[in-house]
C-alpha cells in the first residue's frame, strides 16, 4: 500500500496519522514516512536520516495536532523534513434534534466536524431530518454523552428544556470538552445557573458554559442562529471568544 493510499484510508476512518516528507537539503527530496500513534510506520525517508528520532518527533507533533518543518543532521549535511499531523476531526455533539440543529449539522460538516445528534424523542431525531449527520443517537443526553467527551469535543445544547439540558450539562461541564454552549434567553440562563449552583456545581465549571449560546449577529431564523453558534465555536477552536479581542 502506498503512503497516499494509507493516508486516504486513515482519513476516511478518522484515525490519527502523521506523515514526514523530505523537502530539501541532504536526502532524497520527496521521500515519505507515515507513522501511527502506536509507532507502526510505512515508507522510508532514506537510510541517512535518523528515523527513530524523527518518528518520536512525528508522534509528539501528532499528539499536539501540530505540523511544521524540522532539520535533521545526516552524513551528507542537514535535511529539511516537513512533518504533517492529521489528528482525528473534532466532534460536535448536538443535544436536541430541533430545527436549528439541521442547518448547524450542515455548517459543522463544512468546517470539518464530525456531527453527533442526540435526542431521546423519536419524532425529532429521525433519519429523514438528519440524513446529513454522522451519527444519530436516540438516548437521553446524559447517557449519550457519558464517557464520550474529550478535549476534541464540542457540545451544543439546543433543547431549552431543563429535564434534558441539566443532565447533559452535568456530564459536559466537568468533562474535558473544549466547548459547551446552551441555547436560552438570559432569564432562562439565570434560572439554569441558580438550579445548577443549588445542586453544588462548582463555579469554575459553570463559568465554562457559553450561554446564551452564539455570537450576537442579530439573527432570528434557525439558519441565522446556527451561523451565530458555529461562529462562536470557530472562535473557541482558536482560543478566542469572538467578542472583539485580538
Amino acid at each position: 500500500m502506498s503512503i497516499y493510499e494509507a493516508l486516504t484510508v486513515a482519513l476516511a476512518a478518522e484515525q490519527p496519522v502523521v506523515v514526514a516528507t523530505v523537502i530539501g537539503g541532504a536526502g532524497a527530496v520527496g521521500a515519505k514516512l507515515l507513522a501511527r500513534p502506536g509507532g507502526e510506520t510505512l515508507g522510508s525517508l532514506g537510510a541517512d536520516l535518523p528515523e527513530v528520532a524523527i518518528v518520536q518527533d512525528m508522534l509528539a507533533m501528532l499528539a499536539r495536532a501540530e505540523s511544521g518543518t524540522r532539520r535533521y543532521a545526516t552524513a551528507a549535511g542537514e535535511a529539511e523534513v516537513f512533518i504533517e499531523a492529521y489528528p482525528p476531526p473534532p466532534t460536535m455533539f448536538i443535544v436536541g434534534a430541533v430545527h436549528i440543529a439541521i442547518p448547524l449539522v450542515t455548517f459543522a460538516k463544512v468546517l470539518g466536524f464530525r456531527t453527533v445528534v442526540v435526542d431521546a424523542r423519536g419524532a425529532f431525531a429521525t433519519p429523514e431530518r438528519f440524513a446529513h449527520a454522522d451519527e444519530l443517537v436516540n438516548q437521553w443526553p446524559d447517557e449519550a454523552l457519558h464517557g464520550r467527551l474529550n478535549s476534541n469535543s464540542f457540545v451544543v445544547l439546543l433543547t431549552h428544556d431543563p429535564k434534558l439540558d441539566d443532565p447533559a450539562l452535568k456530564v459536559a461541564l466537568p468533562s474535558p470538552a473544549r466547548y459547551v454552549g446552551a441555547l436560552g434567553s438570559p432569564s432562562t440562563h439565570a434560572k439554569r445557573l441558580a438550579r445548577l449552583r443549588g445542586e453544588g456545581m462548582p463555579e469554575a465549571q459553570l463559568a465554562r458554559l457559553h450561554a446564551p449560546i452564539g455570537l450576537k449577529i442579530g439573527g432570528n431564523t434557525p439558519e441565522e442562529i446556527a451561523v451565530s453558534i458555529i461562529a462562536e465555536i470557530v472562535a473557541a477552536r482558536h482560543g478566542l471568544t469572538g467578542k472583539g479581542e485580538g
Binding site: 497516499y4 516528507t21 530539501g24
Partner: protein, 104 residues
C-alpha cells in the same frame, strides 16, 4: 488534505496524473496555514488552495512541471520576490510550498 481528496480520486479514475502542493512554512501574515493543499491534474483541473489566490497561478505551473518530469520541488514566495516565478504576496508574508507528483 481531506478537501482535495474527492477531486484527486475523480481525476485518477479517469486516468489523469496528479501533483499536490502543500504550504510547509509561513512567515508573517500568510493567507493560508501550514498544511493547506492544492491539487492539480494533468488535464488542467485544480482543487483546494495554498494562498488567497496570489500564487495559485505559479503553483499550478509548478504542479504541471512536476507531473511532466516526476520531480518534487520546494518553492519560496515572498513580498519582494525576484525569482523566476515573479510572483509577490500582497499580504507581506512569505510562503514555502512543496510541490510533488503523486505516484501513479
Amino acid at each position: 488534505m481531506k478537501d482535495v481528496l474527492p477531486a484527486i480520486e475523480q481525476w485518477r479514475a479517469r486516468g489523469e496524473r496528479v501533483a499536490i502542493a502543500t504550504v510547509v512554512k509561513t512567515l508573517g501574515s500568510a493567507p493560508r496555514g501550514i498544511g493547506a493543499k492544492m491539487a492539480v491534474s494533468s488535464g488542467g483541473s485544480m482543487a483546494g488552495s495554498v494562498s488567497g489566490g496570489c500564487i495559485e497561478g505559479a503553483v499550478f505551473d509548478a504542479c504541471q512541471a512536476a507531473i511532466a518530469n516526476g520531480q518534487a520541488r520546494l518553492l519560496h514566495f515572498g513580498v519582494a520576490d525576484d525569482d523566476a516565478w515573479d510572483v509577490g504576496l500582497a499580504c507581506g508574508g512569505t510562503i514555502d510550498v512543496f510541490v510533488e507528483p503523486l505516484d501513479p
